[in-house]
């Protein structure tokens, strides 16, 4: 038992050492150490009851003392450095407290300690007395107080002996006489109030009464608390190895040699870096460039040398400035109505006139953020760098300047201006009209199957001839010495002698018709048959009937009045145009070949030329030489009508694509002028015989009279000025004016229309 206790004390001392060296160790260890210390104390108390003996484990105690001193010294040092003076004082107070405690523990031991203190003083004398005492109280090295010198041997070895060990002088320590039996023990238990705190001491065999302090100590230990009541488990930790540089070293170990000589590894690294810098692999640290955010007078010296490049540069157009409708509080007229809003929502974003909906807010604080703001800026950015820029020449002309300067119509009089007479009587549309060379009579052919003769001045219908078919064309013989009318209907051409002139004239025409009897025999197998009329027809004035193989569209007289040409439009045959000689009752087909659908024909007023208008062109044939002299390109689709200038050098053509082309035969085969005055197909054109006027009739119900001066000077181009738009005809069945013709002497124009009327404009 003794042995184990001594070993435990040694180990306790060691742990103490460790503890003192490493004060930051956990509290658990500390508690263990304290426990052992308490045990020692207990031992020491028990021994104190025995006789005084010399300490045998002196070396042990010495060791502990040494270690304690050393530790305490270092401890103090640390305290000095880390803690304030107060801490030191506290330590002192603690020492005093503990001193008092020991005094209370046992009066008997006091003497002994004093003695040992003296001995120690003689031995060492290095430390102060108070400190020493302090040391004993704390330390477990109370072995010197052990009176029994058997050491750490199991006490049962002495069971059979009267003594229990030996004191310091080598004399036997006798066991106390145990004469108590069970009864005594019981009585003692009943009587002795200190019985519960009386404990037998195994080493001495005597009973020891524990003092109050000792009892408390036992209680504390049983509860698992520290033995020392005043011990503070939560003392502040002392940081030895902190980041602060301390005045004194933690250890006073001298510095190594290697800390004084340069490192080889570092040297190698540095030389590598130096080499890399030399070779340019590593660039030295850049000097901080702070000129980036610094502004200066960039345009201090403006030179024009760079300007050269900017000739081609187009600055971006600025954003258009906002109008009233963008206001937060626009005038009410700029706000959208419901329909406008619906339309805006329906439209594609690119089609919208405004990219936003105008809105009205009653006060500024109600205006929200514009949700497309960033979008709009972004789109502007895209425009700036992605849109091709182009310089657009904006035409900045006054529209008035574009209107050509023409002579005033007032100065170009006379020309027809007002509708003066309306000739009513036909029941069908009037396809064709013709004025007698004298200018007194007007003949008209209508779809109602009648030819009517009108007096021009009075608009009276003098005569109506029922011809029994829709009249396609009528033409008055231009020769003033005869009075004949050619009428085309179905496949017949009729020659009428209306006997509306002087007797002289009527006679001469009669003569013309009756003269060429003998030539008849030659005819026979030709394509046409000439026949004289009889009976009823003769009474109406129909004198001759020229039967054609196909339907006749148009008839046209030669200026002399002997020849009449008839047109039978047909795609497939060359028999489209026939020229009939009235005086000899002979017909001939001038063309061997089919050169397109013939629309109209006309004789040249003075020279032996013959104009044939096909759908796209006008061919001019020389009748004497029997060859084509010219082919005029009308540049229009489907020529409808044609008229030749009385001078014979100019031709106008009307076409179904609303155009009127003026050809100058001296110039080119292309039209000299194209007039697009009409809105619809041109049906008829006409020249005035004396005045420089021409007229065109169209399906849009208008007759446009133009002034067309032809100068004798060949170098001067003809002057064409529209002078009057004549309206009056009503449009029926999409047909307006069908034919137009001038009065031979007066500046009057006649027009016939689909509304079954003929109108005279003067």
């Amino acid at each position: 038992m003794e042995e184990s206790s001594s070993s435990s004390t040694r180990s306790a001392a060691q742990t103490h050492k460790i503890k003192e060296k490493e004060p930051q160790k956990g509290g658990k260890k500390r508690t263990k150490a304290e426990e052992e210390e308490e045990e020692e104390l207990f031992n020491f108390k028990s021994k104190s009851t025995e006789e005084e003996e010399e300490d045998e484990d002196l070396s042990d105690s010495e060791d502990s003392i040494f270690s304690g001193l050393e530790d305490s010294g270092s401890d103090e040092d640390d305290d000095d450095e880390e803690l304030s003076d107060d801490g030191d004082e506290e330590g002192l107070d603690d020492g005093e407290l503990k001193l008092e405690q020991t005094q209370q523990i046992g009066i008997e031991t006091k003497k002994e300690t004093e003695e040992t203190g003296e001995t120690e003083e003689t031995e060492g004398g290095r430390t102060e007395k108070a400190k020493q005492e302090d040391e004993y109280v704390h330390d477990s090295s109370d072995e010197e107080d052990i009176r029994n010198t058997v050491g750490n041997v199991p006490m049962e070895w002495y069971r059979d002996f009267p003594h229990i060990g030996y004191n310091l002088d080598g004399k036997k320590i006798y066991k106390p006489i145990r004469n108590k039996d069970e009864l005594d023990d019981f009585l003692d238990k009943m009587d002795n109030p200190d019985y519960w705190r009386t404990v037998p001491d195994k080493q001495t065999g005597s009973d020891v009464v524990l003092s109050d302090e000792q009892v408390q100590l036992v209680n504390r230990l049983q509860r698992g608390q520290f033995g020392d009541a005043n011990f503070n488990e939560y003392e502040p930790q002392v940081e030895f190895f902190s980041r602060d540089v301390m005045l004194h070293p933690v250890t006073n170990r001298p510095a190594d040699k290697r800390s004084f000589i340069p490192s080889l590894i570092e040297k190698e690294k540095v030389s590598k870096l130096v080499h890399a810098i030399k070779m340019g692999w590593i660039k030295p640290r850049r000097v901080e460039d702070d000129s980036r955010g610094r502004y200066y007078d960039l345009w201090a010296n403006e030179d024009s040398s760079i300007l050269a490049r900017h000739k081609m540069h187009l600055p971006a157009p600025k954003i258009p400035l906002p109008g009233h409708q963008e206001s937060y509080n626009p005038p009410p007229e700029y706000l959208f109505t419901d329909e406008e809003r619906a339309l805006w929502e329906q439209q594609d974003p690119c089609d919208r006139k405004l990219p936003f909906v105008p809105r009205k807010f009653s006060s500024l604080r109600q205006v929200p953020a514009f949700s497309r703001f960033i979008h709009e800026r972004f789109e502007r950015c895209l425009d700036l760098y992605l849109c091709p820029r182009q310089r657009k020449m904006r035409v900045n002309v006054n529209p008035e300047d574009l209107i050509p300067k023409l002579p005033k119509p007032k100065d170009l009089q006379p020309f027809p201006t007002t509708q003066s007479l309306v000739y009513r009587g036909h029941s069908g549309l009037v396809r064709s009209i013709s004025v007698s060379p004298s200018g007194q009579w007007l003949a008209s052919g209508s779809d109602d199957g009648s030819v009517r003769f009108w007096e021009v001045c009075s608009s009276r219908c003098l005569k109506t001839v029922q011809v029994g078919g829709a009249v396609k064309s009528v033409a008055w013989n231009p020769n003033p010495s005869v009075c004949l009318l050619a009428v085309a209907l179905d496949s017949v051409v009729l020659i009428l002698s209306p006997s509306l002139a002087d007797r002289q004239v009527v006679l001469s025409s009669e003569r013309l018709l009756s003269a060429p009897q003998e030539a008849d025999a030659n005819e026979g197998a030709g394509p046409v048959t000439w026949s004289e009329t009889e009976g009823e027809e003769l009474n109406h004035g129909i004198r001759l009937k020229i039967q054609h193989p196909k339907a006749v569209q148009q008839v046209s007289w030669h200026a002399k009045g002997d020849y009449v040409a008839s047109v039978m439009p047909d795609h497939s045959s060359n028999l489209q145009v026939l020229i009939h000689q009235l005086s000899r009752r002979r017909s001939q087909n001038p063309f061997r070949k089919n050169k397109g659908l013939v629309q109209c024909v006309s004789f040249h007023p003075v020279r032996p030329y013959f104009f044939v208008g096909t759908q796209r062109s006008v061919r001019i044939y020389n009748l004497v030489k029997q060859e084509m002299t010219k082919k005029l390109q009308a540049n229009s689709k489907w020529i409808s009508s044609m008229a030749v200038h009385p001078g014979g050098d100019h031709v106008i053509c009307g076409s179904y694509d609303c155009r009127l082309s003026w050809f100058d035969l001296d110039l080119s085969t292309k039209p000299y002028k194209m007039l697009r005055h009409h809105k619809k197909a041109v049906r008829g054109v006409a020249y005035h015989r004396l005045y420089p006027l021409f007229a065109s009739a169209s399906d849009d119900g208008t007759v446009i009279v133009c002034h067309g001066t032809v100068y004798n000077d060949l170098l001067q181009n003809p002057l064409i000025v529209p002078v009057k738009v004549l309206r009056g005809h009503e449009i029926t069945h999409d047909l307006g004016v069908l034919d137009v013709t001038f009065h031979p002497t007066q500046p009057w124009v006649f027009s016939s229309g689909a509304d079954a009327t003929i109108r005279l404009f003067t």
Partner: protein, 567 residues
């Protein structure tokens, strides 16, 4: 014939243009880098005249750049920087991948940077050129200055934009250059005149932005990079033109809005204390006739401008907390007024509400509890309208809780024939110095309008009557004709003839109109097309103006009837 055959597309326009992809390859740049370069250098595509020729016979849609432009880009030092940056990024990635932090540090320190000074000098060889092109720069900087730190762009950019815009506003205040201002639904437009150039910019309202996802912020950031540099140099120059120190001494440490305001309320330190504005007075030249009139007009205009500059001088404003403080403070200071606001709202207030010398308090709420007698309580639109009208407008229309008169755009300049809103006419009358006799004048105007309309109607009637007369005659004739043709004996009756009153002026007019019509018929095809187009445009304009007028009239009538109903 001998000789080498000429190859197609080796000369002419085909060699002057280059497609975008080819240009990119030639410059050895990625598409984003190419885009950045184009933005910075101001290179834009061109539309060739003969696209097919340039496209070497293909009709595929391509973007073409001028070859010269691309060659010009080849010499740009920034291209080298772009490449360096690319290498830098690659190295950095590698270092990160290998977790070599020291080399990451080193690389980051050596991050390549470029400057745009030379590009600005090159794109805008003269200062005026730069000033002319500053509109977009200002709009963009003002937009960026309202951005929050959302990661859409660098914080430094936002701060720089804020700084530059405040500097610009300070310049405008110092030079009293502001001319017009307009509150639109998008934001507030300002127009200032600097060095003879009209500069317009748009400032968004102070709300946080709802950042759209279909916007490429990199493009915007590149533009902003260029614009901030440009604006900085322009600010520098402008400040120096006023003998002001640049950068101005404003404490930039303050927060955004506060910074703006304090900057606006602080006057700028001058380098040299100049004597009173030495306005160059117009020299009197001995001139005659028209020039004289011109001179007078110009002088008058200048006088007016001078007056506008001192519009709010002597007035003391107080801004309530609900009005847009920055805009109003800027405006009022631009025209020489004094302005303050509540101390608790923002720093920089100079006087309190209790100040007895305040003349106008700007309020944007229906009513206010405590009102001082000796000041006007007006809505903010008054300030804007005054600036645009260049006069102090009567405050009656702008009192608290009053329905405001419409806010008109000052940028619209009506030519004759355009629609002019009646409010604008009223303001113009005020400008001419006519007294606003409110209700009466309105009524008079209305009456006048009515009269005019009536006259117009009468004219129409006349025309109609004339037509009617002719038509009636025609009808009569037709009837007679019919009767005659049916073989009935005419009811012989002589009716008294009417004397046709012919208006000589009208006749003449008609004649002229006909003449014109006939002349138009003789126009050449090309000219006719042009003429028709012009006339179409004119007619459309008239139609629009009429539509607006009609809408207004309908609205006014509705209002009137409402008023009557209430009575």
């Amino acid at each position: 014939m001998g000789g080498l055959q000429k190859k197609k597309y080796e000369r002419g326009s085909a060699t002057n243009y280059i497609t975008r992809n080819k240009a990119r390859k030639k410059l050895q740049l990625s598409l984003p880098d190419f885009r950045r370069l184009c933005i910075l250098k101001g290179i834009y595509p061109h539309e060739p005249k003969h696209k097919k020729k340039v496209n070497k016979g293909s009709t595929a849609p391509r973007t073409f750049y001028l070859l010269k432009d691309i060659r010009f880009l080849l010499h740009e030092p920034i291209v080298g920087k772009f490449r360096e940056y690319k290498v830098f990024v690659r190295k950095l990635k590698k270092a990160y991948g290998k977790t070599e932090w020291s080399s990451v540090e080193r690389l980051k320190e050596n991050k390549p940077a470029y400057k745009l000074d030379h590009i600005i000098k090159e794109r805008y060889p003269s200062f005026i050129d730069a000033l002319r092109d500053i509109d977009d720069a200002l709009c963009m900087c003002f937009l960026f200055s309202t951005f929050a730190r959302t990661g859409k762009c660098h914080v430094q950019t936002i701060q720089l934009c804020r700084r530059l815009t405040v500097e610009w506003m300070n310049y405008v205040i110092a030079s009293r250059a502001l001319k017009k201002v307009f509150i639109s639904i998008k934001g507030i437009y300002y127009q200032a005149e600097a060095m003879g150039q009209l500069i317009t910019w748009l400032v968004p309202y102070q709300f946080s932005h709802d950042h759209p996802t279909d916007v490429d912020y990199r493009v915007m950031a590149t533009f902003t990079e260029f614009y901030t540099t440009l604006l900085g140099f322009i600010n520098f120059r402008l400040y120096h033109s006023l003998n002001l120190l640049y950068p101005p001494k404003v404490s930039w440490t303050l927060k955004q809005s506060q910074m703006k305001l304090s900057a606006l309320s602080a006057s700028l330190a001058r380098v040299v204390s100049t004597a009173e504005e030495d306005e160059a007075e117009l020299d009197q030249f001995p001139v005659d006739g028209e020039d004289m009139a011109n001179m007078e007009a110009r002088e008058k205009e200048q006088k007016q401008e001078e007056a506008q500059k001192k519009l709010f001088e002597g007035l003391k404003f107080f801004l309530n907390r609900e009005v847009p403080r920055e805009s109003l403070a800027f405006l009022i200071r631009c025209f020489g007024g004094e302005v303050s606001w509540d101390k608790s709202v923002c720093i920089g207030s100079t006087y309190e509400v209790k100040d007895e010398t305040i003349t106008h308090q700007i309020v944007d709420r229906p009513n206010i509890d405590k009102q001082y007698i000796n000041r006007y309580y007006i809505q903010p639109q008054w300030v804007y309208d005054c600036v645009n009208a260049k006069i102090i407008l009567p405050v009656e229309d702008y009192f608290l809780g009053v329905t405001l008169p419409p806010h008109l755009s000052p940028f619209v300049e009506e030519k004759d024939g355009d629609y002019v809103p009646p409010e604008k006419l009223k303001i113009m009358a005020l400008q001419r110095g006519e007294k606003p006799a409110h209700e009466q004048e309105d009524e008079e105007e209305e009456e006048e309008e009515d009269e005019e309309e009536e006259e117009e109607e009468e004219e129409d009637d006349n025309e109609e009557e004339g037509d009617d007369g002719e038509e009636a005659e025609e009808k009569n004739l037709k009837k007679m004709e019919e009767q005659r043709s049916q073989g009935k004996s005419l009811s012989v009756k002589v009716t008294a003839g009417k004397v046709k009153v012919e208006n000589p002026a009208r006749l003449e007019q008609e004649e002229k109109a006909e003449e014109k019509r006939l002349a138009i018929m003789m126009m050449k095809k090309k000219e006719k097309y042009l003429y028709d187009k012009i006339m179409f445009g004119k007619k459309r304009k008239v139609r629009e103006a009429n539509k607006l007028a009609a809408k207004r009239k309908a609205h006014d009538d509705a209002e009137k009837s409402k008023k009557k109903a209430r009575k």
